[in-house]
Protein backbone atom coordinates (compact mmCIF):
# COMPACT_ATOMS: atom_id res chain seq x y z
CA UNK A 1 0.00 0.00 0.00
CA UNK A 2 2.75 2.37 1.04
CA UNK A 3 6.41 1.70 0.60
CA UNK A 4 9.04 4.19 1.73
CA UNK A 5 12.63 3.59 0.65
CA UNK A 6 15.51 5.56 2.17
CA UNK A 7 13.46 8.73 2.38
CA UNK A 8 15.43 11.90 3.07
CA UNK A 9 14.10 15.38 3.63
CA UNK A 10 15.99 18.61 4.34
CA UNK A 11 14.83 22.15 4.95
CA UNK A 12 17.85 24.08 3.72
CA UNK A 13 20.80 22.78 5.73
CA UNK A 14 18.55 21.15 8.29
CA UNK A 15 18.23 17.43 7.50
CA UNK A 16 15.00 16.48 9.21
CA UNK A 17 14.50 12.98 7.80
CA UNK A 18 17.75 11.11 7.44
CA UNK A 19 16.98 7.61 6.19
CA UNK A 20 13.46 6.35 6.60
CA UNK A 21 12.24 3.05 5.19
CA UNK A 22 8.84 1.61 5.94
CA UNK A 23 6.26 -0.67 4.37
CA UNK A 24 2.60 -0.47 5.23
CA UNK A 25 0.25 -3.28 4.25
CA UNK A 26 -3.40 -2.81 3.33
CA UNK A 27 -5.65 -2.44 6.39
CA UNK A 28 -2.67 -1.98 8.66
CA UNK A 29 -2.73 0.68 11.38
CA UNK A 30 0.73 2.14 11.99
CA UNK A 31 1.17 4.48 14.93
CA UNK A 32 4.08 6.91 14.87
CA UNK A 33 5.40 8.21 18.18
CA UNK A 34 8.43 10.24 19.12
CA UNK A 35 9.55 13.47 20.74
CA UNK A 36 8.55 16.83 19.36
CA UNK A 37 10.77 17.92 16.48
CA UNK A 38 11.80 14.38 15.61
CA UNK A 39 10.30 14.69 12.11
CA UNK A 40 6.97 12.88 12.54
CA UNK A 41 4.91 15.57 10.81
CA UNK A 42 7.45 16.00 8.06
CA UNK A 43 7.43 12.26 7.47
CA UNK A 44 3.67 11.88 7.24
CA UNK A 45 3.45 14.99 5.02
CA UNK A 46 5.93 13.45 2.60
CA UNK A 47 3.45 10.62 2.05
CA UNK A 48 1.08 12.92 0.14
CA UNK A 49 3.78 15.32 -1.00
CA UNK A 50 2.67 18.25 1.14
CA UNK A 51 6.41 18.36 1.66
CA UNK A 52 8.67 17.80 -1.31
CA UNK A 53 11.07 14.89 -0.91
CA UNK A 54 14.82 15.46 -1.03
CA UNK A 55 15.98 11.87 -1.48
CA UNK A 56 14.82 8.26 -1.67
CA UNK A 57 11.46 7.00 -2.93
CA UNK A 58 7.89 6.94 -1.70
CA UNK A 59 5.50 4.49 -3.36
CA UNK A 60 1.79 4.90 -2.70
CA UNK A 61 -0.59 2.37 -4.24
CA UNK A 62 2.32 1.32 -6.45
CA UNK A 63 3.15 4.78 -7.85
CA UNK A 64 6.41 6.55 -7.11
CA UNK A 65 5.63 10.01 -5.73
CA UNK A 66 9.17 11.18 -6.40
CA UNK A 67 8.70 10.51 -10.12
CA UNK A 68 7.94 13.82 -11.84
CA UNK A 69 5.47 12.07 -14.14
CA UNK A 70 3.25 10.97 -11.24
CA UNK A 71 0.08 13.06 -11.04
CA UNK A 72 0.03 14.03 -7.39
CA UNK A 73 -3.61 15.13 -7.44
CA UNK A 74 -4.58 11.59 -8.49
CA UNK A 75 -2.58 10.12 -5.60
CA UNK A 76 -4.09 12.54 -3.11
CA UNK A 77 -7.59 11.36 -4.01
CA UNK A 78 -6.54 8.05 -2.47
CA UNK A 79 -4.83 9.50 0.58
CA UNK A 80 -6.94 11.35 3.13
CA UNK A 81 -5.29 13.58 5.70
CA UNK A 82 -6.42 14.86 9.06
CA UNK A 83 -4.53 17.76 10.60
CA UNK A 84 -3.85 18.79 14.17
CA UNK A 85 -5.69 22.08 13.64
CA UNK A 86 -8.60 20.64 11.62
CA UNK A 87 -8.27 23.16 8.77
CA UNK A 88 -11.98 23.15 8.03
CA UNK A 89 -13.08 25.71 5.45
CA UNK A 90 -14.67 28.47 7.57
CA UNK A 91 -16.66 30.01 4.71
CA UNK A 92 -18.47 26.75 3.99
CA UNK A 93 -21.11 24.90 5.98
CA UNK A 94 -20.27 21.52 7.45
CA UNK A 95 -22.09 19.80 4.59
CA UNK A 96 -20.27 21.94 2.00
CA UNK A 97 -16.94 21.18 3.69
CA UNK A 98 -17.61 17.51 3.11
CA UNK A 99 -19.00 17.78 -0.43
CA UNK A 100 -16.59 20.39 -1.85
CA UNK A 101 -13.87 17.98 -2.97
CA UNK A 102 -16.09 15.14 -4.24
CA UNK A 103 -18.06 17.59 -6.38
CA UNK A 104 -15.11 19.61 -7.70
CA UNK A 105 -12.37 17.01 -7.85
CA UNK A 106 -14.26 13.82 -8.64
CA UNK A 107 -17.18 15.38 -10.48
CA UNK A 108 -19.76 13.70 -8.26
CA UNK A 109 -23.27 15.14 -8.69
CA UNK A 110 -24.28 17.57 -5.95
CA UNK A 111 -27.27 15.57 -4.75
CA UNK A 112 -25.34 12.34 -4.64
CA UNK A 113 -22.43 14.00 -2.85
CA UNK A 114 -24.77 15.48 -0.26
CA UNK A 115 -26.45 12.16 0.41
CA UNK A 116 -23.11 10.54 0.94
CA UNK A 117 -21.87 13.42 3.08
CA UNK A 118 -24.91 13.16 5.32
CA UNK A 119 -24.29 9.45 5.76
CA UNK A 120 -20.69 10.17 6.71
CA UNK A 121 -21.70 12.94 9.10
CA UNK A 122 -24.12 10.54 10.68
CA UNK A 123 -21.33 8.04 11.08
CA UNK A 124 -19.23 10.59 12.99
CA UNK A 125 -22.32 11.65 14.95
CA UNK A 126 -22.79 15.11 13.46
CA UNK A 127 -25.64 14.84 10.96
CA UNK A 128 -27.59 17.52 12.84
CA UNK A 129 -24.75 20.01 12.27
CA UNK A 130 -24.85 19.74 8.48
CA UNK A 131 -25.98 23.32 7.90
CA UNK A 132 -23.87 24.88 10.69
CA UNK A 133 -20.59 26.68 10.08
CA UNK A 134 -17.30 25.39 11.51
CA UNK A 135 -16.98 28.34 13.90
CA UNK A 136 -19.98 27.13 15.88
CA UNK A 137 -18.48 23.69 16.55
CA UNK A 138 -16.32 22.46 19.40
CA UNK A 139 -12.82 21.19 18.68
CA UNK A 140 -13.86 17.57 18.90
CA UNK A 141 -16.76 18.15 16.53
CA UNK A 142 -14.51 19.99 14.08
CA UNK A 143 -12.07 17.12 14.01
CA UNK A 144 -14.85 14.61 13.40
CA UNK A 145 -16.05 16.75 10.47
CA UNK A 146 -12.47 16.86 9.17
CA UNK A 147 -12.41 13.06 9.24
CA UNK A 148 -15.73 12.88 7.40
CA UNK A 149 -14.43 15.39 4.85
CA UNK A 150 -11.39 13.23 4.14
CA UNK A 151 -13.49 10.05 3.97
CA UNK A 152 -15.84 11.62 1.44
CA UNK A 153 -13.11 11.19 -1.18
CA UNK A 154 -13.19 7.44 -0.45
CA UNK A 155 -9.46 7.24 0.21
CA UNK A 156 -7.59 3.97 0.51
CA UNK A 157 -5.24 5.40 3.11
CA UNK A 158 -5.78 7.86 5.92
CA UNK A 159 -3.00 9.95 7.47
CA UNK A 160 -3.50 11.52 10.89
CA UNK A 161 -1.07 14.12 12.24
CA UNK A 162 -1.71 14.47 15.97
CA UNK A 163 -5.49 14.63 15.49
CA UNK A 164 -6.21 15.05 19.19
CA UNK A 165 -3.33 17.27 20.29
CA UNK A 166 -5.24 20.53 19.89
CA UNK A 167 -8.32 19.26 21.75
CA UNK A 168 -9.50 19.79 25.29
CA UNK A 169 -9.04 16.51 27.18
CA UNK A 170 -12.76 15.78 27.40
CA UNK A 171 -13.03 15.78 23.60
CA UNK A 172 -10.16 13.45 22.84
CA UNK A 173 -12.29 10.35 23.39
CA UNK A 174 -14.96 11.16 20.81
CA UNK A 175 -12.35 11.61 18.07
CA UNK A 176 -10.42 8.46 18.99
CA UNK A 177 -13.70 6.57 18.97
CA UNK A 178 -14.30 7.56 15.33
CA UNK A 179 -10.75 6.55 14.45
CA UNK A 180 -11.14 3.17 16.15
CA UNK A 181 -14.28 2.52 14.16
CA UNK A 182 -12.43 3.44 11.00
CA UNK A 183 -9.65 0.98 11.83
CA UNK A 184 -12.23 -1.69 12.52
CA UNK A 185 -13.78 -1.03 9.09
CA UNK A 186 -10.42 -1.95 7.58
CA UNK A 187 -8.93 1.43 6.69
CA UNK A 188 -5.19 1.62 6.18
CA UNK A 189 -4.01 4.24 8.64
CA UNK A 190 -0.84 6.03 9.66
CA UNK A 191 -1.37 7.92 12.88
CA UNK A 192 1.03 10.31 14.58
CA UNK A 193 -0.18 10.57 18.16
CA UNK A 194 0.75 10.81 21.81
CA UNK A 195 -2.27 8.69 22.79
CA UNK A 196 -0.53 5.54 23.92
CA UNK A 197 -3.82 3.90 24.86
CA UNK A 198 -4.97 4.25 21.26
CA UNK A 199 -1.66 2.89 19.98
CA UNK A 200 -1.93 -0.13 22.24
CA UNK A 201 -5.55 -0.86 21.43
CA UNK A 202 -5.74 -0.13 17.70
CA UNK A 203 -2.19 -0.13 16.38
CA UNK A 204 -0.83 -3.12 14.51
CA UNK A 205 2.62 -1.63 14.73
CA UNK A 206 4.22 1.25 16.59
CA UNK A 207 7.13 3.21 15.18
CA UNK A 208 9.37 5.27 17.41
CA UNK A 209 10.98 8.16 15.54
CA UNK A 210 13.85 10.18 16.88
CA UNK A 211 16.11 12.73 15.26
CA UNK A 212 15.07 11.88 11.71
CA UNK A 213 15.40 8.10 12.03
CA UNK A 214 13.04 5.25 12.82
CA UNK A 215 14.81 4.11 16.00
CA UNK A 216 12.59 1.18 16.75
CA UNK A 217 9.43 -0.52 15.56
CA UNK A 218 7.41 -3.35 16.98
CA UNK A 219 3.94 -4.51 17.93
CA UNK A 220 2.51 -2.11 20.49
CA UNK A 221 2.58 -4.47 23.44
CA UNK A 222 6.15 -5.52 22.77
CA UNK A 223 7.41 -2.02 22.16
CA UNK A 224 5.79 -0.59 25.26
CA UNK A 225 6.76 -3.39 27.63
CA UNK A 226 10.16 -4.16 26.22
CA UNK A 227 11.76 -1.19 24.43
CA UNK A 228 15.21 -1.94 23.04
CA UNK A 229 16.78 1.48 22.69
CA UNK A 230 17.73 3.88 25.46
CA UNK A 231 16.01 6.70 23.57
CA UNK A 232 12.79 4.71 23.35
CA UNK A 233 12.93 3.92 27.07
CA UNK A 234 13.56 7.54 27.94
CA UNK A 235 10.67 8.70 25.75
CA UNK A 236 8.22 6.09 27.00
CA UNK A 237 9.08 6.76 30.62
CA UNK A 238 7.93 10.35 30.05
CA UNK A 239 4.66 9.61 28.26
CA UNK A 240 3.39 6.35 29.72
Amino acid sequence: MISVKHLKKSFGDNEVLKDISLDVKPQEVVVVIGPSGSGKSTFIRCLNLLESVTGGHVYVTGKDLTDKKTNINEIRKNVGMVFQHFNLFPHKTILENVTLAPINVKGVKKQEAEQKALALLKKVGLAEKASAYPDSLSGGQKQRVAIARALAMEPKIMLFDEPTSALDPEMVGEVLEVMKQLAKDGMTMIVVTHEMGFAREVGDRVIFMDNGYIMEENEPAALFSNPQHERTKAFLSKVL
Binding site: M81, A101, N104, V105, K106
Partner: protein, 218 residues
Protein backbone atom coordinates in the same frame (compact mmCIF):
# COMPACT_ATOMS: atom_id res chain seq x y z
CA UNK B 1 -16.30 88.59 4.22
CA UNK B 2 -18.92 88.43 1.50
CA UNK B 3 -19.59 85.04 0.00
CA UNK B 4 -20.85 85.21 -3.58
CA UNK B 5 -23.17 82.29 -4.05
CA UNK B 6 -23.96 83.54 -7.55
CA UNK B 7 -20.53 82.35 -8.66
CA UNK B 8 -21.34 78.86 -7.47
CA UNK B 9 -24.71 78.93 -9.18
CA UNK B 10 -23.16 80.17 -12.42
CA UNK B 11 -20.55 77.50 -12.40
CA UNK B 12 -22.76 74.67 -11.20
CA UNK B 13 -23.14 73.05 -14.66
CA UNK B 14 -19.36 72.83 -14.92
CA UNK B 15 -19.01 71.48 -11.40
CA UNK B 16 -21.55 68.80 -12.22
CA UNK B 17 -19.76 67.90 -15.43
CA UNK B 18 -16.49 67.82 -13.52
CA UNK B 19 -17.96 65.63 -10.81
CA UNK B 20 -19.12 63.13 -13.40
CA UNK B 21 -15.64 62.99 -14.93
CA UNK B 22 -14.08 62.67 -11.47
CA UNK B 23 -16.34 59.67 -10.86
CA UNK B 24 -15.53 58.31 -14.31
CA UNK B 25 -11.78 58.62 -13.79
CA UNK B 26 -12.00 56.98 -10.38
CA UNK B 27 -14.19 54.12 -11.58
CA UNK B 28 -11.98 53.48 -14.61
CA UNK B 29 -8.91 53.68 -12.37
CA UNK B 30 -10.22 51.24 -9.80
CA UNK B 31 -11.57 48.86 -12.45
CA UNK B 32 -8.39 48.68 -14.54
CA UNK B 33 -6.36 48.83 -11.33
CA UNK B 34 -8.20 45.76 -9.99
CA UNK B 35 -7.39 43.69 -13.06
CA UNK B 36 -3.76 44.79 -13.26
CA UNK B 37 -3.42 44.60 -9.49
CA UNK B 38 -4.61 40.98 -9.41
CA UNK B 39 -2.03 40.02 -12.05
CA UNK B 40 0.76 41.97 -10.35
CA UNK B 41 -0.17 40.64 -6.92
CA UNK B 42 -0.09 37.04 -8.18
CA UNK B 43 3.21 37.74 -9.97
CA UNK B 44 4.66 39.11 -6.76
CA UNK B 45 3.78 35.89 -4.97
CA UNK B 46 5.53 33.66 -7.50
CA UNK B 47 8.03 31.27 -5.95
CA UNK B 48 10.37 32.03 -8.88
CA UNK B 49 12.58 35.03 -8.05
CA UNK B 50 12.97 35.96 -11.74
CA UNK B 51 9.24 36.17 -12.28
CA UNK B 52 8.80 38.03 -9.00
CA UNK B 53 11.44 40.65 -9.80
CA UNK B 54 9.58 42.87 -12.33
CA UNK B 55 6.37 42.83 -10.26
CA UNK B 56 8.18 43.73 -7.07
CA UNK B 57 9.81 46.69 -8.82
CA UNK B 58 6.59 47.75 -10.46
CA UNK B 59 5.09 48.12 -7.01
CA UNK B 60 8.21 49.76 -5.59
CA UNK B 61 8.29 52.37 -8.33
CA UNK B 62 4.60 53.25 -8.44
CA UNK B 63 4.25 53.40 -4.67
CA UNK B 64 7.58 55.10 -4.15
CA UNK B 65 7.18 58.07 -6.50
CA UNK B 66 4.62 60.90 -6.38
CA UNK B 67 1.47 60.38 -8.41
CA UNK B 68 1.85 63.93 -9.70
CA UNK B 69 5.20 63.03 -11.25
CA UNK B 70 3.68 59.89 -12.76
CA UNK B 71 0.83 61.89 -14.29
CA UNK B 72 3.21 64.41 -15.84
CA UNK B 73 5.57 61.74 -17.18
CA UNK B 74 2.72 59.75 -18.65
CA UNK B 75 0.94 62.74 -20.18
CA UNK B 76 3.94 64.53 -21.63
CA UNK B 77 6.28 61.57 -22.11
CA UNK B 78 4.52 58.25 -22.61
CA UNK B 79 1.13 58.97 -24.17
CA UNK B 80 2.55 61.21 -26.97
CA UNK B 81 4.43 58.13 -28.18
CA UNK B 82 1.18 56.66 -29.50
CA UNK B 83 -1.26 59.57 -29.53
CA UNK B 84 -0.90 63.15 -30.66
CA UNK B 85 -1.94 65.41 -29.26
CA UNK B 86 -2.20 63.38 -26.07
CA UNK B 87 -5.65 63.38 -24.52
CA UNK B 88 -5.54 64.40 -20.83
CA UNK B 89 -8.44 62.09 -19.91
CA UNK B 90 -6.64 59.12 -21.44
CA UNK B 91 -3.43 60.11 -19.67
CA UNK B 92 -5.25 60.52 -16.35
CA UNK B 93 -6.92 57.12 -16.63
CA UNK B 94 -3.62 55.45 -17.47
CA UNK B 95 -1.75 57.13 -14.62
CA UNK B 96 -4.47 56.51 -12.03
CA UNK B 97 -4.89 52.87 -13.10
CA UNK B 98 -1.18 52.10 -13.04
CA UNK B 99 -0.81 53.79 -9.68
CA UNK B 100 -3.85 52.10 -8.15
CA UNK B 101 -2.69 48.74 -9.51
CA UNK B 102 0.44 48.94 -7.36
CA UNK B 103 -1.58 49.50 -4.19
CA UNK B 104 -4.23 46.95 -5.14
CA UNK B 105 -1.53 44.36 -5.87
CA UNK B 106 -0.38 44.73 -2.29
CA UNK B 107 -3.95 44.45 -1.02
CA UNK B 108 -4.40 41.20 -2.98
CA UNK B 109 -1.11 39.78 -1.81
CA UNK B 110 -1.74 40.66 1.82
CA UNK B 111 -5.29 39.27 1.63
CA UNK B 112 -4.22 35.96 0.15
CA UNK B 113 -1.24 35.57 2.45
CA UNK B 114 -3.38 36.34 5.49
CA UNK B 115 -5.24 33.05 4.96
CA UNK B 116 -3.84 30.29 7.14
CA UNK B 117 -1.46 27.94 5.30
CA UNK B 118 -3.50 24.99 6.57
CA UNK B 119 -6.36 25.97 4.28
CA UNK B 120 -4.29 25.43 1.14
CA UNK B 121 -2.85 22.21 2.60
CA UNK B 122 -6.27 20.83 3.45
CA UNK B 123 -7.57 21.66 -0.02
CA UNK B 124 -4.55 20.14 -1.76
CA UNK B 125 -4.68 17.03 0.44
CA UNK B 126 -8.23 16.48 -0.84
CA UNK B 127 -6.91 16.30 -4.39
CA UNK B 128 -7.65 19.85 -5.53
CA UNK B 129 -5.22 21.50 -7.93
CA UNK B 130 -3.54 24.72 -6.86
CA UNK B 131 -5.96 26.71 -9.02
CA UNK B 132 -9.02 24.92 -7.65
CA UNK B 133 -7.83 25.49 -4.09
CA UNK B 134 -7.30 29.18 -4.84
CA UNK B 135 -10.71 29.55 -6.44
CA UNK B 136 -12.78 27.47 -4.02
CA UNK B 137 -11.01 27.93 -0.70
CA UNK B 138 -8.47 30.76 -0.55
CA UNK B 139 -9.95 33.59 -2.64
CA UNK B 140 -13.48 33.49 -1.18
CA UNK B 141 -11.96 33.99 2.27
CA UNK B 142 -9.35 36.48 1.12
CA UNK B 143 -11.85 38.67 -0.76
CA UNK B 144 -13.73 39.35 2.46
CA UNK B 145 -10.56 40.66 4.02
CA UNK B 146 -9.72 42.71 0.93
CA UNK B 147 -12.98 44.67 0.85
CA UNK B 148 -12.13 47.25 3.54
CA UNK B 149 -8.67 48.14 2.16
CA UNK B 150 -10.05 48.18 -1.39
CA UNK B 151 -12.74 50.62 -0.30
CA UNK B 152 -10.04 52.74 1.24
CA UNK B 153 -8.03 52.64 -1.96
CA UNK B 154 -11.08 53.77 -3.94
CA UNK B 155 -11.50 56.78 -1.66
CA UNK B 156 -7.82 57.68 -1.99
CA UNK B 157 -8.06 57.29 -5.76
CA UNK B 158 -11.10 59.53 -5.94
CA UNK B 159 -9.30 62.31 -4.10
CA UNK B 160 -6.05 61.78 -6.02
CA UNK B 161 -7.86 62.11 -9.34
CA UNK B 162 -7.89 65.84 -8.58
CA UNK B 163 -4.22 65.86 -9.60
CA UNK B 164 -5.37 65.36 -13.18
CA UNK B 165 -6.30 69.08 -13.16
CA UNK B 166 -2.62 69.79 -13.72
CA UNK B 167 -2.80 68.28 -17.22
CA UNK B 168 -6.15 69.99 -17.89
CA UNK B 169 -8.35 66.93 -17.64
CA UNK B 170 -11.71 68.67 -17.10
CA UNK B 171 -12.62 66.97 -13.84
CA UNK B 172 -13.96 68.61 -10.69
CA UNK B 173 -10.74 70.24 -9.52
CA UNK B 174 -10.07 71.58 -13.02
CA UNK B 175 -13.36 73.53 -12.95
CA UNK B 176 -12.58 74.77 -9.47
CA UNK B 177 -9.36 76.26 -10.75
CA UNK B 178 -11.10 77.62 -13.83
CA UNK B 179 -13.70 79.40 -11.68
CA UNK B 180 -10.98 80.82 -9.49
CA UNK B 181 -9.18 82.17 -12.53
CA UNK B 182 -12.30 83.65 -14.07
CA UNK B 183 -13.68 85.41 -10.99
CA UNK B 184 -10.41 85.88 -9.10
CA UNK B 185 -12.12 84.43 -6.03
CA UNK B 186 -10.68 81.74 -3.81
CA UNK B 187 -13.28 80.70 -1.26
CA UNK B 188 -16.36 80.11 -3.37
CA UNK B 189 -14.94 77.71 -5.98
CA UNK B 190 -12.60 75.77 -3.72
CA UNK B 191 -15.07 75.38 -0.86
CA UNK B 192 -17.64 74.11 -3.34
CA UNK B 193 -15.15 71.66 -4.80
CA UNK B 194 -14.12 70.50 -1.33
CA UNK B 195 -17.74 69.96 -0.29
CA UNK B 196 -18.44 67.90 -3.41
CA UNK B 197 -15.37 65.72 -2.78
CA UNK B 198 -16.45 65.30 0.82
CA UNK B 199 -19.94 64.23 -0.22
CA UNK B 200 -18.49 61.68 -2.61
CA UNK B 201 -16.04 60.20 -0.11
CA UNK B 202 -18.59 60.13 2.71
CA UNK B 203 -21.09 58.31 0.48
CA UNK B 204 -18.40 55.80 -0.33
CA UNK B 205 -17.52 55.37 3.33
CA UNK B 206 -21.14 54.64 4.19
CA UNK B 207 -21.42 52.25 1.27
CA UNK B 208 -18.30 50.39 2.44
CA UNK B 209 -19.58 50.19 6.00
CA UNK B 210 -22.85 48.79 4.73
CA UNK B 211 -21.09 46.14 2.62
CA UNK B 212 -18.85 45.18 5.53
CA UNK B 213 -21.83 44.77 7.85
CA UNK B 214 -23.63 42.67 5.26
CA UNK B 215 -20.61 40.38 4.87
CA UNK B 216 -20.20 39.94 8.60
CA UNK B 217 -23.74 38.71 9.13
CA UNK B 218 -23.53 36.34 6.18
Amino acid sequence: MDFRTDIIVDYMPFFIKGTLLTLGLSLAGIFIGLILGLIIGLGKMSTNAWIRFPFVWYVNIFRGTPLLVQILLIHFGVVPLFMSPSNPIVSAIIALSLNAAAYIAEIFRAGIQSIDKGQMEAARSLGMSHIQAMKLVILPQAVKRMIPPLGNEFIVLLKDSSLAAIIAAPELMYWGRAAQGQYIRVWEPYITVAVIYLMLTLSLTYLMNYIERRMKTE
